[in-house]
């Protein structure tokens, strides 16, 4: 790249620019495929899907609030599970380790790149928040979930496990900005603490799954104190607002469902005839 003429062999040799099969083979299967917007597969009857289908995934670059990196980790002291075994179990039982009253509706097969899962979360005030995540990356020792527009935060969470001095450490690391001004206020007024408790509970439950009474170490770093006001309009996708409106509409939907339809109100001609 210094302007020197290329040697003939440089012209015919496959270069990294051309994506050699070797380069692709190493991690191509670990990443989600690029799609214009998120699509949710089969949805369970009790899951609410109003904020995921058709949305795009968002990184911290598209977020609004201060940027945070939060790291939660637990050492599985005395346990025998390898990092690969921890991640395998974590993927297979992901929602099992969550605090109660929070639901993760993912594929039954576990967590794989490109999967989109619905989340129905209980927020302060018993508000049910309907949102989701994209499995952005997954390999044997880690997996990463990326959030959609309207989620509380823009960014991703990487779940990983590694060996440290002969002991396996399980870790969840969040890189995030609040998605809009309303979420930024919410995070400041207790939302961050709630999130910390959520992942501390998760890691404690994961450790217990491997028979370890682990203590979670939490580290929080403010990576960027600046708020990105150009992204304040993200509030139009706010899943909390939309979920609240959806909840308020529940009685009307119930009435609408129970209202007899035209065919039900008009009995067939022989409906009231006595049977023989």
């Amino acid at each position: 790249m210094d302007g020197a003429p290329q040697r003939p062999e440089e012209i015919i040799e496959p270069t990294n620019q051309e994506a050699t099969p070797e380069a692709i083979a190493r991690d191509a299967a670990n990443w989600a495929k690029l799609t214009p917007s998120l699509t949710v597969g089969e949805v369970p009857a009790d899951a609410v899907n109003i904020n995921v289908t058709g949305r795009r995934q968002v990184s911290p670059i598209q977020g609004f609030g201060k940027m945070w990196q939060k790291t939660y980790k637990v050492t599985l002291t005395g346990g025998s599970a390898t990092p690969q075994e921890v991640i395998s179990e974590w993927k297979a039982n992901f929602p099992k380790f969550w605090p109660p009253r929070n639901s993760f509706y993912g594929p039954l097969t576990g967590i794989a790149p490109g999967d989109v899962a619905l989340l129905n979360l209980t927020m302060p005030g018993r508000l049910k928040l309907s949102t989701g995540v994209l499995v952005m990356y997954a390999d044997d020792e880690s997996f990463t979930l990326m959030t959609p527009q309207g989620h509380m935060f823009a960014g991703w969470i990487t779940f990983s496990a590694y060996d440290k001095g002969g002991e396996t450490v399980a870790q969840a690391q969040v890189l995030m900005r609040a998605n809009d001004p309303m979420y930024e206020v919410g995070l400041t007024m207790g939302g961050h603490r709630s999130e910390d408790r959520f992942w501390e509970h998760t890691l404690t439950a994961l450790a217990a799954h491997f028979g370890v009474d682990g203590e979670v170490d939490t580290q929080v770093v403010c990576v960027d104190k600046k708020r990105q006001w150009r992204n304040a309009r993200n509030i139009r996708y706010n899943a909390a607002i939309r979920s609240s409106l959806y909840s308020m509409g529940a009685p009307f939907r119930a009435v609408s469902r129970s209202k007899p339809t035209a065919t039900e109100t008009t009995p067939p001609d022989d409906a009231n005839k006595p049977t023989a």
């Binding site: 990294n16 380069a23 692709i24 990443w31 670059i61 598209q62 991703w156 990487t158 690391q173 600046k226």
Partner: protein, 118 residues
């Protein structure tokens, strides 16, 4: 197959520095990347150009590092540019929406032209 990243820094005129990224970029590459960034910024350049021609592998931890690097660069009023990405990693930049903040070019000449260094 290299297991760690190495990053050399070259000056490209007064306004840009080029960081030649080689090997594997993962969360473990933080010290190497930030050291390269510091060296690249020493002369007060306005643009940092990342050359990914030697990139072997990058996972989500590596992408996270690039987001953090972007924040540091913006804080110094610098712009980030990239070239030498394979189609695979270009798609990952699009998937993670890094492409909306990092200018991506086919080659060094185009990246430096965009950076105002040529």
């Amino acid at each position: 197959m290299s297991q760690t990243a190495t990053m050399d820094v070259r000056q490209a005129g007064r306004s840009a520095s080029i960081v030649d990224v080689k090997g594997d970029v993962t969360a473990n590459s933080e010290d190497v990347l930030m050291d390269a960034y510091n060296r690249a910024s020493e002369s007060g350049v306005r643009s940092i150009v990342l050359n990914f021609e030697g990139l072997d592998y990058m996972n989500s931890g590596g992408i996270g590092l690039l987001v953090t690097l972007l924040v540091r660069a913006n804080r110094q009023r610098q712009q980030l540019f990239a070239y030498g990405l394979t189609d695979h990693y270009r798609q990952i930049f699009e998937l993670t929406r890094l492409d909306e903040a990092v200018g991506i070019y086919d080659n060094e000449r185009d990246a430096l032209a965009a950076a105002g260094a040529r």
